[in-house]
């Protein structure tokens, strides 16, 4: 059976070149970078090389890169660490309504500790209006965090415009670039942000490693206390092979970004234009243009995501959904709801995220196998039956 992996937003495969780069550090070169003897030297040098590579990917100063264990850790570190370090100036933070849970729930935890959190709403494309950020800024606002792009609906947020406002007001701006760094150009200077999260497994690097970039001079409290690895900002023995892999993945992403974007955009656009031609009552989620290159997301009306996902899986296709049944919390994606979709429509969420191994044939395979699945499921859907009887949509 054809196997088609279209869930690169969940995680990407490791590039062979990245694995090759990691291998020595899973073998001979096992030293601890903190060690003063010659077993530590190559490990330490490898970590510093990776730091240069990651800094290069986002146009940062090398010493400003802090390696972490995941995108989630980077976000927790940023939100909690920046808020805690600036507590004397105030206790109000602003995030968008479509942030990843690692930002959202970090903010919830801060609320329990006495911080106040404002959520900026989004429009029907999931886009934040910078003026909505401005309106929420108060005298005691100490942090704004808006993601660079959303992994569920692909929408790219106007970070540059938000940064103009936060800069003017002298408030640190963090952006969760887990979905963008290594995928589209990300330059911390051009964006104008003060802190930025990224993760290896989003651009063909390893799992278990991420980075937080924090502009020099911006104070942050460590999330992991202990030894003085990472300039005293993130304790713990460095995960050398994973860091090396992240560095290599960053280098390859920098070198091949244009070509990758070209490929992914073509595949995405093919699916986005052709799927609605094959299936009625399909809504594209996220911004129609300002979206991640390999990211095609839809809601298919009258039916539910998990059952589509299961049928697709039986056809060898891997996708995601933001439906309640596919989430372990059994709640429909907060991103879809924040974008104004009804719960009913949100249950029909399907998310195709292409990767650098994807092909036109993959798209065509989807266009072939999905319509009969939709038909089948609609035939047993009470919502579809009602719609047909009423002769109109139920939205």
């Amino acid at each position: 059976m054809r196997r088609v992996y279209l869930d690169n937003a969940a995680t990407t495969p490791l590039l062979p070149e990245v694995r090759e780069a990691m291998m020595p550090f899973l073998g001979e070169v096992f030293g601890n970078p903190s060690s003063l003897h010659s077993w530590g030297d190559p490990a330490r040098e490898a970590v510093e090389t990776a730091r240069v590579q990651v800094a290069g990917l986002i146009g940062a100063q090398v010493e400003e890169i802090i390696f972490t264990g995941s995108g989630t850790e980077s976000n927790n570190f940023a939100i909690k660490g920046l808020a805690m370090a600036n507590q004397k100036k105030g206790n109000h933070i602003i995030i968008s309504a479509v942030e990843h849970f690692s930002v959202l729930h970090s903010a919830r935890t801060l609320e329990k500790l006495g911080f106040q959190v404002s959520e900026v709403p989004v429009d029907k494309y999931g886009t934040v209006d910078p003026d909505d950020v401005r309106r929420r800024i108060r005298k005691d606002t100490i942090l704004v965090s808006v993601m660079h792009a959303n992994g569920e609906i692909g929408t790219i947020e106007p970070i540059k415009e938000i940064a103009k406002i936060t800069k003017e007001m002298n408030i640190p701006l963090h952006t969760d670039a887990v979905a963008t760094a290594g995928t589209i150009p990300v330059n911390v200077k051009e964006l104008g942000v003060d802190a930025l999260s990224l993760a290896g497994n989003q651009f063909y690097g390893p799992k278990g490693v991420g980075a937080l970039w924090v502009r020099r001079g911006v104070r942050i409290m460590p999330l992991l206390d202990g030894g003085i690895q990472e300039g005293g900002k993130r304790a713990g023995t460095e995960n050398v092979p994973a860091i090396v892999g992240l560095g290599k993945a960053a280098e390859l992403a920098t070198a091949n970004m244009d070509a990758r974007i070209k490929l992914l955009t073509a595949l995405r656009d093919r699916l986005i234009t052709q799927l609605p031609a094959k299936i009625d009552h399909v809504v594209i989620t996220g911004h129609p243009q300002k979206r991640l290159p390999g990211h095609a997301s839809f809601c298919i009306e009258f039916i539910e995501g998990e059952s589509m996902l299961m049928w697709l899986n039986m056809q060898g296709v891997a996708v995601s959904s933001g439906s309640a049944c596919t989430s372990r919390a059994l709640k429909a994606s907060h991103v879809l709801i924040a974008s104004g979709l009804s719960h009913e429509l949100a249950q029909g969420s399907l998310l195709f995220t292409f990767g650098i191994d994807s092909t036109v044939e993959d798209v065509d395979y989807i266009l072939e196998v999905l319509p009969p699945i939709v038909t089948r499921l609609r035939q047993m859907s009470p919502l579809y039956a009602k719609f047909e009887k009423a002769g109109k949509g139920v939205r």
């Binding site: 009258f302 039916i303 539910e304 995501g305 998990e306 059952s307 299961m310 899986n313 039986m314 439906s323 309640a324 049944c325 596919t326 372990r328 059994l330 429909a332 009804s342 719960h343 009913e344 249950q347 035939q379 047993m380 859907s381 009470p382 919502l383 579809y384 039956a385």
Partner: protein, 129 residues
């Protein structure tokens, strides 16, 4: 994939008794799109027995399998027997349901009961009228 039993997968892939009954003797609806699962059961009753049972389901794999299984368990049974079908007995027949799926998707028995109640209600009204 969610850890579904073979039985669940069978009923998900080949659901029995899908559809609508024209002029049913009773209709029962359960669930709502917010939690992601919704089921409608239609029944035809003859001599206190479920002569026919059909369903429509919007929902996850488990919800579809549950509906199918309920319809199969109910068909041909007396109303009293059918009212004894419980979420637990359905889950047992399906050789288990994932823990987190139990409550949300396992609304089939309730939907069936509602259809039977609907029938009984109508009967009462018919008698009264």
């Amino acid at each position: 994939m969610p850890v579904y039993s073979q039985k669940v997968m069978d009923h998900f892939m080949n659901p029995r008794n899908v559809g609508e009954i024209e002029n049913p003797d009773g209709i029962g609806e359960e669930g709502n799109p917010v939690c992601g699962d919704m089921m409608t059961f239609y029944i035809k009753v003859k001599d206190n027995r479920l002569e026919d049972v059909k369903f429509q389901t919007f929902g996850c794999g488990a919800a579809i399998a549950v509906s199918s299984m309920v319809s199969e368990m109910a068909k041909g049974r007396t109303l009293e027997e059918a009212l004894k079908i419980t979420p637990q007995s359905v889950a047992n027949e399906l050789e288990g349901l994932p823990k987190n799926k139990f409550h949300c998707s396992n609304l089939g028995a309730q939907a069936l009961h509602k259809a039977i109640e609907d029938y009984l209600e109508k009967q009462k009204k018919g008698v009264q009228a």
